[in-house]
């Protein structure tokens, strides 16, 4: 097991190290692609082997990292079912993205570097996943951020990419600082950052000892602050604005980092921290998730850049996952994380395939940005440019009718779309989303909580919108007549290195694999000792025993849920993931979700395929709403116009204060002192007056090697001051 985990971590790290060392020696590595891909495949195979080996019990492996007196920071790995699932998802998607990139990035001048960065990213992500303590998670957390920065800015000659990578790093760092403060709070209380028990008790054990309202408030604040990190990394409102801009990176990066893995790390973190979440911090998480789900979905329906639609869709889906965890549906959140990882990676790679088709010359950068060339350099500012022109090869208005030209891409993307839209029964996305909706509704019914009813309605609407904008994308891209004949002529199906990963991911968008692990209580939610039903809640003890759900035994879902239901039945008041298909909540949620998905698809079909309804007419009628969506709720305007501008203004103010006031006083004191000395010793020549301290220099020191004179001057001053000091001492001693 130690060997396997070492290989998983070291293989991609080695691939990166080889590149870095060869790079330092000024020798490129032309076969970095092969090296990185094999490293990733090795990690994938080891993850699969771990999956078969994993004990039902977690296996901690820990070393002391830093020892300071009584305090020890340990570093270690923690493997349980969730970790292994994450390992498989990350290594699998990463391997496929590596293979896809061999086609997509072919011919790029920095082709080897791309793979090296992918390797570094994979290592960091895997390290984050297996760490058993907050410090380790934080390290991995920031390293994936670095890789994200490097890869978004991969084509750094583009100003838009250079802006986007900086924005991504800084925005997530705001969240990370919150997370760090949360860590400091936990550390101050518990004197450890280990989550699980090792030589000493970990946070999850120690936290059980907390009670009383003061502690609960404190724990809620700590939980919310840790969640801030997840808000940044998983692009939740209000720190979501970096993710759509991150689409400036190469599309395989968008698939791997900004859809399947890194952005899901926030969800993973929140799930890991499940045992410390209190009722109030859970509710905050649920609301942030719910609001993110609907805000991003509404923005997605008016975008024309194929990648931006997918980016907002990702933001929205991450919101769903957060909502699930906030509502206590731990398993549902993680389940959606894995299904989403596959179908969203597929959608991005599919869009990459389309972009690639439109872009046969492999000049991914430069050309369409020639108008940027006259951009003045001084113009770089902390203020980002946005609403910039959509590159023509990503503009859905230039597409249409591609389904015949690109059959593989079309079919696979259609499968992913059906999955994300929640088309019932045979697609994985349906099951995971339904689990979320059911979980929220169940919590609402169980606690009779108005908050959770509101959240359920929000999530349901967001689910309907999801189906709408995803089919809008499919109709605009693959159906209808080609809009741009010239580009359409050029389009072609992508080579096999690109289509094979699409097919694999399409296969994974069916429930087969995902249900293998979210089944038979392979994943079990940890206890939440600090979740208490609100006072007014009426906990219905028999809410578990209903037996009215669809019998879908062929997928093995109902048995799993039944088993889970019995497991948790006695614990329902603590609310540790009390979701199961048996309750009426799940039945209701399932029926409603099928209705809204169907409605969304129908509307999309009427608007964008049959053209019975006109999007333009609707947008004119509801102009203010449309403007709000089109302008992304003005988040960017607020940040750039207010926050960034204020920061820059403040920094200039500080610098000016430093130069004129602080330094002015120093120089002023210098002048006065010199004049006093001059009067005293007569040593200084008063005839030259120019500058302040400069004058001392001119008098005492001429550059032509007359060092002796300056020495004399300095030492005289020196002696004078020393004597003055001694006089002062005597005075002080008299006073004392």
């Amino acid at each position: 097991m130690v060997v396997l985990i070492s290989i998983i971590l070291l293989a991609p790290l080695t691939a990166f190290a080889v590149y870095a060392l060869l790079g330092l020696a000024n020798k490129g590595n032309p076969r970095q692609d092969v090296l990185s891909t094999f490293a990733m495949l090795a990690a994938f195979i080891c993850s699969i082997l771990l999956f078969w080996q994993i004990d039902p019990k977690p296996v901690p492996l820990t070393i002391d990292w830093i020892s300071l007196g009584s305090i020890t920071f340990s570093m270690g790995f923690y493997l349980d079912s969730v970790t292994v699932i994450m390992l498989i998802v990350v290594t699998l998607v990463s391997s496929l993205v590596h293979i896809f990139s061999m086609g997509y990035m072919h011919g790029d001048p920095r082709y080897p570097r791309f793979f090296a960065f992918l390797s570094l990213f994979s290592f960091s992500m895997l390290f984050l996943v297996v760490s058993d303590n907050l410090l380790g998670i934080y390290i991995g957390w920031e390293l994936v951020g670095l890789c994200s920065y490097l890869l978004i800015g991969f084509w750094f000659e583009k100003d838009s990419a250079a802006n986007a990578c900086k924005k991504a790093f800084l925005t997530t760092r705001v969240g990370d600082v919150g997370m760090f403060v949360g860590m400091m709070m936990l550390f101050t209380k518990f004197k450890t950052l280990s989550l699980y028990d090792g030589a000493n008790a970990g946070i999850f054990t120690l936290v059980e000892g907390l009670s009383g309202t003061g502690d609960m408030l404190w724990l809620s604040v700590a939980g919310i602050l840790i969640f801030c990190g997840a808000v940044g990394k998983s692009a939740q409102v209000p720190l979501h604005t970096w993710l759509p801009d991150a689409m400036e990176g190469p599309t395989p990066v968008s698939a791997l980092i900004h859809a399947a893995t890194m952005v899901a790390a926030g969800v993973y973190l929140t799930a890991r921290m499940f045992p410390i979440l209190t009722t109030s911090s859970s509710l905050v998480i649920a609301y942030v998730g719910g609001i993110t789900a609907i805000v991003a979905a509404t923005i997605a329906i008016v975008r024309f850049d194929i990648k931006r639609v997918l980016a907002y869709s990702t933001v929205s889906q991450l919101g769903f996952m957060m909502l699930a965890i906030g509502a206590g549906s731990y398993v549902a959140g993680l389940f959606h994380l894995t299904t989403h990882a596959f179908f969203k990676a597929l959608l991005f790679l599919g869009s990459g395939s389309v972009i690639h088709a439109f872009h046969a010359m492999h000049t991914h950068h430069d050309e369409e940005h020639t108008d940027d060339a006259n951009h003045e350099h001084d113009d770089h500012s902390l203020v980002h440019e946005h609403g910039s022109e959509i590159p023509p090869d990503q503009d859905m208005r230039n597409m249409g009718g591609l389904r015949r030209k690109m059959p593989f891409t079309f079919i696979t993307m259609l499968i992913a779309t059906l999955s994300i839209s929640g088309v019932p029964f045979i697609f994985s996305g349906f099951w995971s989303k339904d689990k979320i909706l059911g979980g929220v509704l169940e919590r609402a019914m169980e606690w009779n909580s108005i908050h959770h009813y509101i959240l359920f309605v929000i999530a349901l609407i967001a689910a309907g919108i999801t189906a709408f904008y995803m089919f809008r994308l499919i109709f605009m891209t693959f159906f209808g007549e080609p809009k741009n004949q010239e580009m359409h002529e050029m389009a072609h199906e992508s080579p096999w290195v690109m289509t094979v990963p699409l097919l694999v991911l399409a296969f994974l968008s069916f429930p087969v694999v995902n249900h293998l692990w979210f089944n038979k209580d392979f994943v079990k939610p940890p206890m939440q000792h600090h979740i208490h039903a609100p006072e007014h809640a009426q906990v219905l003890p028999d809410s578990k025993t209903h037996n009215t759900e669809f019998s879908l035994a062929f997928l093995g879902v109902s048995e799993a849920n039944a088993a889970e239901g019995e497991e948790n039945g006695h614990d329902s008041a603590h609310g540790a993931d009390g979701h199961h298909g048996h309750s009426p909540a799940h039945t209701i949620a399932m029926i409603l979700s099928i209705i809204v998905a169907g409605f969304g698809i129908l509307l999309s079909w009427l608007f964008y395929h049959k053209r019975r309804l006109s999007a333009e007419a609707v947008s004119t009628t509801f102009r203010p709403v449309y403007n709000l969506f089109w302008n992304k709720y003005y988040f960017d305007e607020f940040y750039d116009g207010v926050l960034v501008a204020l920061t820059v203004w403040k920094s200039r103010l500080y610098a000016q204060f430093d130069g004129s006031v602080v330094d002015g006083i120093v120089n002023g004191v210098g002048t006065v002192t010199r004049d006093v000395f001059a009067a005293f010793t007569g040593f200084f020549d008063n005839s030259v007056v120019d500058g302040i301290v400069n004058r001392i220099a001119e008098v005492t020191w001429t550059i032509g090697g007359r060092i002796r004179r300056i020495q004399t001057g300095a030492i005289q001053t020196y002696l004078f001051v020393v004597i003055g000091g001694i006089v002062l001492i005597i005075l002080i001693f008299r006073v004392l």
Partner: protein, 511 residues
């Protein structure tokens, strides 16, 4: 003996260099390199043989120097000293290599002064006698003054004199406090400058040194002396000027070692010798009880914001140093194991990282002959190796976990948070602003369209890489295995914090 050898080998080197003919420049450089290499080898030997399990001083030499005033040549090292001596010895040869081609005139005098400076720095960190400590402190001042004043940029005289007078102002106050301590240490004839003895006396009940009022005043005297050196706001304005004018290698020493002399003094004298004075400024009970932490916070936030506004690359790095030294102050103000260890680690790591940053600025300046950030652009496509190393150094400096800068910063904050919640939370603003100015610089210099002026800018050369690689390796190594350095001083720190708590506790119990 070993310690004395290490301290005075550079001084011997200076004599040798002075005896060499002015014209044989290559020889002078090689001799200097040799004489800076010997301390490095000795430092590595110390690093290996230093007994990490005890806080007691090691490699002690104690010889009577000026009998009349009971002044001894007393040197010895504990965990803190050995860490900083290692840093000094490491930066020595790197600076000599970095000066290989850039110093055009008077190489002989330059190298001689540099060697003298190294002796001053090494001696300062090893001194166990207050008078000796002061002598070494002043010994660094003169060579630094000439190195900036003669080999500096256009405004070198202004910068050098400002540096000199400012430090002198601080050290005079220090001298006053030192003499006060000496006079209070006992009856005539029994007075002493011996640091361990003074530390013991200052915690002895009923002794003149164990008076709150007295300790507050001498604490302030030493504090201002060291504060100028660190530099702590508002005594910092000499630093940007000195850095901008100093030649690359001297900036490296200035940021890498000289600033640490200030914080080292704070630990060695202010914290260890005057626990009651320290308590007055760090007890967290009233305004004065917050003052040290407040200064740390101001340094962090003020330094970071000032850095954000700079357009001169070197000035930006200089202000970033002010910000980073703020974390040291904040960690020390916490006066617990975590905070003080974090602060000391931050001293070492900042030494390494800021050395890298100044070397990198030098590389660019040597090619472009200016440092205006806004006049670059797109260099990344022409100098990929240089860009890679700069990214590493920037990331380390902005505290990216996995690199060394993070650990010290994080431990300082963790330690401080236990004592000063609000100030520590506010200080985290510095982390965000720190990322902002480095990334913005990275963008303006390296990303975007290539500025056509730099079409032919040559890639970083082998000699420059040679100076940067050891530091880069350390940054990564200490980011992954910080205990390599922490283990050196953790026992000493525990000893220090325990005796602090004890001394303060005893004093308060007797009130």
């Amino acid at each position: 003996m070993l310690l004395s050898l290490m301290i005075f080998v550079p001084l011997l080197g200076m004599v040798v260099v002075l005896l060499l003919p002015r014209e044989s420049e290559e020889l002078i450089k090689r001799v200097t390199l040799l004489f800076t290499f010997i301390p490095l080898i000795l430092a590595v030997y110390l690093f290996i043989t230093y007994d990490r399990s005890t806080a007691a001083s090691q490699y002690i030499a104690n010889i009577t120097w000026i009998e009349k005033f009971n002044i001894n040549y007393h040197v010895g090292i504990d965990g803190l000293s050995v860490t900083l001596m290692l840093l000094t010895a490491l930066l020595g040869p790197i600076c000599v290599i970095a000066s290989w081609r850039n110093i055009e005139k008077g190489i002989k005098a330059y190298m001689a002064l540099f060697l003298m400076l190294e002796t001053g720095m090494l001696g300062f960190f090893a001194a166990m006698d207050l008078f000796l400590f002061y002598v070494f402190f002043e010994l660094t001042l003169l060579p630094m003054y000439f190195l900036i004043g003669v080999w500096g940029g256009p405004r070198r005289e202004y910068a050098a004199i400002k540096f000199f007078l400012y430090t002198l102002f601080g050290s005079v106050l220090m001298l006053v406090a030192m003499i006060a301590v000496y006079l209070a240490s006992g009856d005539p004839g029994a007075r002493t400058f011996d640091i361990p003895t003074l530390i013991a006396l200052a915690s002895t009940e009923g002794h003149a040194l164990n008076s709150l009022n007295f300790q507050i005043w001498v604490f302030l005297g030493f504090f201002i002396g060291f504060a100028v050196k660190v530099p702590i706001f508002p005594f910092h304005t000499w630093l940007p000027d000195a850095h901008v004018e100093a030649p690359t290698a001297i900036s490296v020493i200035l940021a890498g070692v000289l600033l640490k002399m200030g914080t080292y003094g704070l630990v060695r004298i202010n914290m260890a010798m005057f626990p009651l004075g320290l308590d007055r400024f760090t007890n967290g009970s009233d305004f004065w009880g917050y003052s040290l932490a407040l200064l740390g916070f101001i340094n962090i936030v003020y330094g970071s914001f000032c850095a954000l506004a700079q357009t001169d690359f070197k000035k930006l790095v200089a202000y970033s140093s002010i910000g980073h030294m703020g974390f040291v102050i904040l960690g020390l103000a916490a006066r617990n194991d975590t905070g003080v260890s974090g602060a000391i680690l931050q001293m070492f790591n900042h030494g390494v990282i800021s050395a890298m940053l100044f070397l990198l600025v030098g590389v660019l300046y040597d090619r472009a002959h200016h440092r205006e950030i806004n006049r670059f652009g797109g260099i990344g496509s022409k100098m990929p190796i240089y860009t890679g190393i700069t990214t590493l150094a920037f990331m380390a400096s902005l505290g990216l976990p996995g690199l060394s800068g993070f650990v010290g910063e994080a431990l300082s904050l963790l330690g401080a948070f236990a004592k000063y919640k609000t100030l520590t939370i506010l200080s985290t603003i510095g982390i965000v602003v720190g990322a902002a100015y480095f990334l913005w610089t990275l963008q303006r210099v390296f990303l975007g369209k290539l500025n056509p002026d730099y079409e032919d800018i040559p890639e970083i050369n082998k000699r420059e890489i040679l100076t940067l690689v050891p530091l880069g390796i350390l940054t990564i190594l200490l980011g992954v295995f910080p205990h390599i350095i922490i283990d050196m001083f953790s026992v000493s720190v525990t000893e220090l914090t325990n005796s602090l708590t004890e001394a303060i506790g005893t004093f308060q119990a007797n009130l």
